[in-house]
């Protein structure tokens, strides 16, 4: 059973517009959330994170919003650029027995059209 769900396999957006990628989770113990970006034939790279004590974290064009009551987080990219075209993975984790293992969603493929 998926604990981290990215229900949209793909998203298509026009350059300059906002991209919103969504992620839902089921485990209420998750307290740290991350977004990664992955280009074809490369490993994922870290984009932005948020802890459960916050509801928003911003880094340049990227903002992550966390709604704990809804167990939902979203990544906003404004403005979107063609170079943002990639697969985006949401990850969530919680401490367990002294360790911390993130659980990844299945990814959303973002295509930004020029």
């Amino acid at each position: 059973d998926q604990q981290v769900k990215q229900n949209s396999p793909s998203l298509s957006v026009q350059e300059g517009r906002i991209s919103i990628l969504n992620c839902d989770y089921t485990n209420s113990m998750f307290d740290y959330f991350l977004w990664y970006k992955k280009y074809p034939a490369e490993g994922p790279t870290f984009l932005i994170s948020i802890s459960s004590i916050k509801d928003k974290n911003e880094d340049g064009r990227f903002t992550v919003f966390l709604n704990k009551s809804a167990k939902h987080l979203s990544l906003h990219i404004v403005p979107s650029q063609p170079g943002d075209s990639a697969v985006y993975f949401c990850a969530a984790g919680s401490p367990s027995g002294g360790s911390y293992i993130p659980t990844f969603g299945r990814g959303t493929s973002l295509i930004v059209h020029p």
Partner: protein, 112 residues
């Protein structure tokens, strides 16, 4: 910058062969992970390690084993490769809990 290298970008093996995938990191990170990525399934954790000679099973350890004899090197072993192990294999490191992971470029393994 953290550098995570994987021994091969592309690998083709035959069913039943023993396969070694090597991962080396240069930033003295304690934690290392092996994932496989398959279309529509995202990243699934195979094994991880928090210290030398330490290993823990992830979500899909069946058919795999690992070795960590030195802090900077984490090896994934397919004891007897099967066609359903054809996948992209990704190694990652992490400085400690609640930190981001740094991934290698991946090894595309095909088992014929």
């Amino acid at each position: 910058d953290v550098k995570v290298t994987q021994s091969s970008r592309y690998l083709v093996k035959r069913t039943g062969e023993k396969v070694f995938l090597e991962c080396v990191q240069d930033m003295d990170h304690e934690n290392m992970f092996w994932y496989r990525q398959d279309p529509g399934l995202g990243l699934r954790l195979i094994y991880f390690s928090y210290d030398v000679k330490m290993k823990e099973k992830g979500d899909i350890p069946e058919g795999y084993s690992v070795s960590r004899e030195k802090k900077e090197r984490f090896s994934l072993i397919l004891e007897s490769a099967s066609t359903n192990q054809t996948s992209m294999y990704l190694c990652a490191t992490e400085r400690g809990s609640y930190n981001e992971q740094f991934f290698g470029p991946g090894t595309r393994l095909t088992v014929l």
